[in-house]
């Protein structure tokens, strides 16, 4: 997309590196823009469970596969780490697609980890409506393979240990020696960050092997982080780890952005993908808002404000109370954008993902809105 005025391409600054931010960077790059991505702490994407709800458009599918996610044509039954079978529209590559094990005996692998009560989980899966209507049985097989220090480390750390070929060989051998004749193996979110270990296990054991969902801060989020890094490198998107402090439109067009430590950047357009209140990144000021002198609060439509110094969620301690508006308001708060993801008050600034008010908080929605915002930002 060569600019008629010179070789310099359109510059887009994406703030936030979750699903929405990566999608915006991907789409803006594909539209020919020069993209820099600014992100700081982990948000809800890095903490996600490994599941995606809803349906994916073809563009979302293309991007999702680059990020290591599968998209299902129709909702598929998947097991969660709370012993529930639920439907999902897509998932991390390793999450068990239970449809492949319908009518068979599923062995739940017990490694003796603290965060995995195999017996009770198997009971929960067994009691699910899906298991009963598909005549599928769940039972536990104990395999001792962990070092004592591995009982309590995070699933993410454990997964890295099984990236090593020797550990994987040992696991396969122990499972084969456990002399259990299952048709499928259901495991926790523990195997393989770099390598697709569950796929390798499926091939070597000759039957389906899959994981449950991950806890917050678990393996699914870690896989997303790794895939993101690979994708951004492939796209040659420059990434900087820092925080956004201030954002202001320039008179001549474009936007000026002040970043912590790294100073001021300017770009022709900016995509905000800071996440919802869960992301932990929605503070534009170093200092918290001063408590009001008045003791009374006022009701507000959206609990996030932009344009003042501070962008912070509403709070029962001052301003609007969640007791009145209900906790469901947490899903509604955010910035209001037009159909193209544009903020009406700030030309050349776009918002996507959980930051947008009143939209479903799902992975597919984040990717879809990110793609739209990135595309429009690159063209405006």
């Amino acid at each position: 997309m060569a600019d008629s005025g010179g070789p310099r391409s359109h510059s887009v600054l994406v703030i936030g590196g979750g699903f929405a931010g990566v999608a915006a960077a991907w789409a803006a790059r594909r539209a020919g823009a020069e993209v820099e991505l600014i992100h700081d702490r982990a948000g809800s994407s890095e903490l996600y469970s490994g599941l995606a709800d809803g349906a994916a458009t073809s563009e979302v599918r293309e991007l999702a596969s680059e990020l290591g996610l599968r998209c299902f044509d129709a909702p598929r039954p998947v097991p969660t780490r709370e012993g529930v079978v639920r439907d999902a529209g897509g998932s991390d590559r390793a999450v068990f697609d239970l449809q492949s094990a319908a009518g068979s005996v599923v062995r739940v692998l017990d490694l003796g980890r603290d965060d995995w009560d195999a017996e009770l989980l198997a009971k929960g899966f067994q009691a699910s409506r899906w298991a009963r209507s598909h005549n599928t049985r769940f039972s536990v097989v104990r395999v001792d393979i962990l070092r004592s220090s591995e009982r309590r480390i995070s699933g993410y750390d454990l997964a890295r240990h099984f990236d090593a070929a020797a550990r994987l060989d040992e696991l396969v051998e122990k499972i084969q020696r456990s002399s259990s004749t299952g048709d499928a193996w259901l495991v926790g979110p523990w195997f393989g960050l770099e390598r697709n270990v569950t796929l390798e296990l499926t091939q070597r054991l000759g039957c389906p092997v899959g994981e449950t969902t991950s806890p917050p801060g678990g393996l699914a989020g870690a896989r997303f982080e790794l895939q993101r890094q690979r994708l951004l490198e492939k796209l040659s998107v420059k990434t900087t780890r820092t925080r956004l402090l201030r954002l202001s439109p320039r008179g001549s067009g474009g936007v000026e952005v002040e970043l912590a430590e790294t100073g001021v950047r300017s770009a022709q357009s900016v995509v905000l993908a800071l996440g919802g209140v869960a992301a932990g990144g929605i503070r534009l000021s170093e200092t918290p808002p001063a408590p009001p002198q008045l003791r009374v609060g006022i009701a507000l439509d959206a609990a996030i404000w932009l344009g003042s110094e501070v962008l912070a969620p509403g709070s029962s301690l001052w301003g609007a109370s969640f007791q009145r508006v209900g906790l469901a308001a947490l899903d509604q708060v955010g910035l209001r954008v037009d159909a193209r993801g544009r903020l009406p008050e700030l030309p050349a600034v776009f918002a996507c993902g959980d930051l947008v008010a009143g939209r479903a908080r799902t992975v597919f929605e984040a990717l879809e809105s990110g793609i739209l915002a990135g595309k429009v930002a690159a063209e405006s």
Binding site: T80, V84, A278, R295, S316, W318, F322, L327
Partner: protein, 576 residues
Amino acid sequence: MQPARQSKSEGMNEADDTGVAPDVDVVVIGGGVNGTGVLRDLTLRGLRVSLFERNDIAFGASGNSSGMIHGGARYLTADPDVTYDSCLDSGHIQQIAPHLLFRIPFLMPIAARGPLSGRISLAGYDAFFSLYDKYQPLKRGKPHVRLSPEEIRSLEPGVVGDYRGAVTFDEWGIDGARLCVANCVDAVERGSYVRVHTTVTDILRREDGRVFGVRYRDRLTGETGRCTAKVVVNATGAWAPITASLGGLPIHSARVRPGKGIHVFLDRRLTNYAIIASAVDGRQVFLLPWQNMSVLGTTDDDYYGDLDEVVATTDEVRYLIEAVEGVFPAVRTARAIGTWGGVRPTLWGWGVNEDELSREHQVVDHAQHGADGLYSMIGGKLASYRLFSEELSDVVARRLGVTSACRTHESPLPGGEQTVDPMQLVIDGGLEAVTATRLEYRHGARSLRVLERMQRDPREAAVVCPCEPVTEAEVRYVVEHEWARSVEDVSRRTRLGLGSCGGMRCALRCGRILADTLGSSPEHGMSSALRFIDAQVKRRVCALGPEQARQEALARSVLRAELGPGYEQSSENGRG
């Protein structure tokens, strides 16, 4: 046990003209600190008692108080005998349950300017607490200290303001729910009975008005039944008038003036001292380091609402935050992780402000209302529960001809029989130090029984709730031995799910363990967990600051991921 048989044969003809022995000697209604205190006291005197609790043990004021066994300093000038008795009894409670008490040193800054500075000077407070020091040895309290402004700042750097100085004094904290449970456990081990989630639907009376028992309904199973007794004790706190009406008595026969008090709890201990501050209306409020968190308390307002659904409101939370932030500004941005709402059963009075109402207690003999055999316990406070229980038990024992004396001040509560060093649990049981310390706090010597479970089945050593922390063995133990029937009950006994994550990491797993221990279905465990999560959310929304709002949003998305997008509906369905 000898006196039990005596009193039983003796009471047979007196209490029951049909010639059939009553099921028990005494029925106690109410599982708060007074009800469980009476249950234990009468059981120790050899009587057989059955306790019925409509919700859960320590569900009301007992589990939602400031959590202190204080020495009654406020009565020092008006009635020093009350202070003496309070301090003496605080010492008794320490002796019978040493594991449950923890020291809370208070710091009271005296402003250099402002409306209160002139009223009582630093010297005045100094003199006042010198007097209180005389009673402190009764409860192993340390003498007060007068601090300079520089000393305040070095002890508590977060305190701001212009002060002439401060005084310190010593009090003791306690987990009210653990205290109530310990009383029940002891009584049941000695032959009495406890039924939780079982509401009394009628107080049974003969034609001549005499009371001879109760009819009850289990609120979880719907099972109904009848329990006859020679005496019925109404120990239902703020519910007392409602309970009296179940026997056909007018509500003014057991009148209380319910006073709502809320507390806000903040993640972690922000201070070493409890700090006293003044609220906008001049009331004293405090910031209290309590167990592993900080507690702001408390309010005192007339309450007209549903006693089963007492929840703190945003304006009550803001009132406390505003009061304490003047002295300790960090409370404004600290992470609020929950609230308690409780209703005090204050003695009734007309035409006075809530704070001026008496905190005393009284026994009502309903013979004066034609209901011989029914007694109501009105008023009282956590710190005086043992004395109040003793007074009521004396009346009942005299009536039933039991001569054995009260032993609750010397007979140790379960867990208090012997001292266990938490580090021993670390060495012998391989527990982590924090897990061991918290387990020993809650169970005292009984922590060894929980440890035994883990040694029998190492899988039970898994930590279910990492915030507190609580192991699977402890969850199963409180279900099997302490009448926990829901995730919320487990939480009340173990503090599971009350940390900063709000049960996000543990509630559903606790539900699975609960269901498995009770032999019920996984669905039952899940609906119990979801009810707990819902109830906790209601207690937190009024205090959400920005940090906790993010946590709430995360917790919601985690639940949605684990249970499917329709979980909100399924939790509503679980209610049915």
